[in-house]
Structure formats: C-alpha cells, structure tokens
C-alpha cells in the first residue's frame, strides 16, 4: 500500500516537472527548446550512476553476507540503471542533432563513456540470464558488477584524456546550467526534475526488487517440483 502511494506521488511529481520543463520555464536563449531535453537527460544520467553504484555495493554485500536479498537489490538496480542509461543516451542524441548537427559526437567524452557504460551493464544482465543456480548467479554478477563500477572512472578519465590532449572543451556543455550565474528558474527546474525522477527510481527499485524475489522463489519451487516428481517416479517403479 505504501509502495502504491509512493508510485502515485512519483507519477504526479514526474508529470509536474515535465509540465514545468516544457511550458513554464523559459527556453535557453542560444539553444531554444532543445535545451529542455537537458532536464530529464541530466536526471537520467544521475540515476544511471546511482543505480550502478547500488549494484556494486549490493554485490559487495552479497559476497560478504551471502544474503540473496542483496543480490535481488543488485539485479533490480542494474536493470533500472540500463533503462536510465539508454534514456540518457537517447536524450543526448536528440539534443545533439539540432545543436551539434549530428546524433553522435566523438568529441564529447561523456557520450562515448555512457555508451560503454551501457555495454558493461547489458553484459551484466545477459550474464545473469545465462546462469541458473541462484547463488552462482549472485556471485558471478556481484564480481562483474564490482569490476564494472571500478572500470567506470578509468573509462571516463581515459576517454576524456583521449579527446582532451589536443582539443578544448566542447560547446554547449549542459552542466553550465548549474553555474551560479544561471537563472534560478533553470536551476530550480533541474533540481525538481532530479527529485521527481529519483522518487520514480525508488518506486521502480522497490517493485523490481519484489519481482526479483518472486522470480527466485518460483525458480526454487520449480526445482523442488522436479526433484519431487523424479523421486515419485523412482518410487513408483
């Protein structure tokens, strides 16, 4: 019941910030309406990093405490993180097309880094699907999740360097909105979007966690079923 209320609150909050970002806050002088993409884009990127942090921490927790509930948390976070990562990339490309003239800009290190991030965690999810035994799956996934999280800063740093040794910073960095001189309306809308999206993230996390627990319970029941029917067949013979 509490979760359902959280869901409605999150839905209302996301609807509210969407309306504000689309119709209330003024558009950017240079970028026009395309700049409005920045609000969900930045919020999604933040939730992607949050998700993968949770996956790594829950993975460490599993290796330490051997509690399958922690593995369910890691699974839920990774799956939701992949969705937000994909959404962030998609938003970035939609913004890049009118502003940069291209969907994909190799000069922007964050775009490339985020794409690699997506690949890391798609691999993580595929690995989970290919392993049947819950404890083995938890261990493999935990290790891959931890190493992926360690790799993210190195990837980010190296890609930034790769591009940055010769060129200067890219134009129109969305982060500039957080400049202290930026209009309060922009900063307020961005913070509101961050809050609303985080509420939605929390709701999705709880639901996906419950689902992951139910999946493991069903797997376990099926395995017992198979064992039982094998035993009955053996006795009948």
């Amino acid at each position: 019941m509490k979760t359902r209320i959280l869901g409605y609150v999150a839905l209302a909050a996301v609807a509210a910030v969407t309306a504000v970002a689309l119709f209330v806050v003024p558009s950017d002088r240079n970028q026009g309406d395309a700049q409005r993409i920045m609000y969900p884009h930045v919020a999604s990127a933040w939730l992607a990093y949050l998700s993968f942090g949770v996956t790594a921490l829950a993975g460490i927790g599993w290796l330490w405490k051997r509690d399958l509930r922690l593995d369910a948390v890691a699974h839920a976070a990774a799956e939701i993180g992949v969705i937000f990562t994909a959404f962030a990339i998609w938003g970035g490309m939609m913004w890049g097309r009118p502003i940069w003239g291209v969907f994909w800009q190799w000069e922007d290190p964050r775009l490339t880094t985020t794409a690699l991030l997506l690949m890391l965690y798609v691999g993580y999810l595929l690995l989970r699907r290919l392993t049947d035994d819950p404890e083995r799956r938890a261990t493999r996934a935990a290790i891959v999740g931890i190493v992926a999280a360690i790799d993210i800063p190195i990837v980010h740093f190296s890609v930034e360097w790769w591009r940055g040794l010769h060129q200067t910073a890219t134009i129109g960095s969305p982060d500039r909105v957080l400049d202290p001189a930026a209009p309060m309306a922009f900063v307020g809308t961005l913070l509101g979007t961050l809050g609303a999206f985080t509420l939605a993230w929390l709701y999705l996390m709880i639901r996906r966690y419950q689902l992951a627990r139910a999946e493991v319970a069903r797997e376990e029941a099926r395995r017992l079923d198979r064992l039982m029917s094998a035993r009955t067949a053996a006795v009948a013979r």
């Binding site: 290796l63 993580y124 690995l127 493999r140 290790i143 790799d151 360097w161 040794l165």
Partner: protein, 230 residues
C-alpha cells in the same frame, strides 16, 4: 615476507603448469596467432590499398588485432581447466586464491606477450610502419598492454568458462572493460611511432600502468569467489 614468497612460488607453479600444457598442446598460441593474422589481412582489405591511410591506422589495427586475438587466447587457456574437473582440483588446493589468479594471469601474460610482439612485427611488415625505429617504447607498450589483457581476460574467462554461451559472453563482458587499455595502448603506440612530438608517451604509459595495477588488484581480490562458487 615469507607468505609473499610462498604465494609467489604457488603463482609460478600454476603459471609453469599452464605454460607446460601450452607447450605440449599449443591450444592457445597457434590458433590465436593465425586468427590475429587473418584479422590484420582483413583490416588491410577493409582500409587499403592506400598505403598512407594504412600506415596512419596501424596503431589502432595493431591493438584491435591483439585484443581480439587475446579474447581467444584467454578463453582457450581457461577451457583447459574445464576438462576432467581440473578447475575443481585447482579450487581444492589449500593455498591463497590470489596466488592461483596471479599464476593463471602470468600464463596468459606469456601468451599475450608472444602474440603482441609477433603482431607488432606483422604490422610493421604489412602496413610499412618502421617499428624498429621506436622499438623500446613500443615494446614497453606491448608489455603493459599484454599484462592488462591477461589480467582482465583471466578474470572474465573465469566468469564465463562454465557458461554454454561463453564464446559470445566473454567478448561482450571484456571489451568494454578493456576500452581504457585500448585507448592508452593505441595512443602510446602512435606517439612512439611519430617520435613523440607532443611529449605524451609517458602519460599514456602511466595510464596503462594504472589500469594494469587496478585490474590485477581487483582480480586478486575477487578470483577466489569465482573459484569457490562462480
């Protein structure tokens, strides 16, 4: 100090076992080398025949060939252990898991080093790049790159070795993690070949060292869990 020495001995014993098996069976090296050769030839077809363009792309082609072939090599080296439950035997040894990881990674490193040096030579011949001119920085780059591929590959081969779909999963898991290594090694090789005009070679080599150290430590810390119930 004595535990460190004991663990080093275990690691060397594991590496020696892998090297011996490889020398006798040649599971990893031969097929991997020819795979790298085919990759280089296809790169030449895809980007050639303009010699200037091929020479400009040579550092990237070198490292893509090494990384692609490296995936095959580490997979082969780990596949060896699945025969006759050898991995379970290895897990039963009452020794530190990190020593076993270091040993397996050393075996992989030896194969990768051989591969890297030979591919470097092949790139020099095929794409008309003067590798002899800058042999020392190129060799250092190959050593660091081989160590990184072996460190990451040993670890991910351990994750995927028991999967049915390991041939698809190993590259999918490994390649994004290896992205910083690819960048560092390509940039270092290109700088070395160009005579390091922007004085950036040292920085890229440092990136490779940092990547190698971080991945070796991560592998040492987690390989035991893989061996136990991964």
């Amino acid at each position: 100090m004595s535990t460190l020495r004991a663990e080093a001995r275990i690691a060397l014993a594991v590496a020696r076992k892998d090297a011996l098996a490889e020398l006798r069976g040649r599971h990893a090296t031969v097929s991997t080398l020819f795979f790298a050769a085919v990759v280089l030839l296809l790169f030449g077809l895809a980007l050639g025949p303009d010699a200037a363009r091929l020479a400009a792309a040579a550092p990237g082609l070198l490292w893509l060939a090494v990384v692609f072939a490296g995936i095959l090599a580490v997979n082969r080296l780990h596949l060896l252990e699945t025969d006759d439950g050898a991995l379970e035997q290895l897990a039963l040894y009452p020794v530190a898991r990190r020593a076993i990881y270091v040993g397996k990674a050393l075996g992989g490193f030896a194969v990768m080093l051989l591969l890297g040096v030979l591919v470097l030579g092949a790139v020099g011949v095929l794409f008309a790049v003067d590798v002899a001119k800058a042999w020392l920085p190129l060799l250092v780059t190959v050593v660091l790159g081989a160590a990184g591929v072996a460190a990451v590959g040993t670890f991910y081969a351990g994750v995927t070795v028991r999967l049915r779909a390991r041939e698809a999963m190993l590259p999918l898991l490994m390649l994004p993690v290896l992205a910083p290594l690819l960048l560092g090694a390509v940039k270092a090789s290109a700088a070395a070949l160009a005579g390091d005009p922007f004085d950036e070679l040292g920085a890229w080599l440092q990136l490779l060292v940092a990547f190698d150290v971080i991945m070796i430590v991560a592998g040492m810390a987690t390989y035991g869990y893989l061996l136990e119930d991964g």
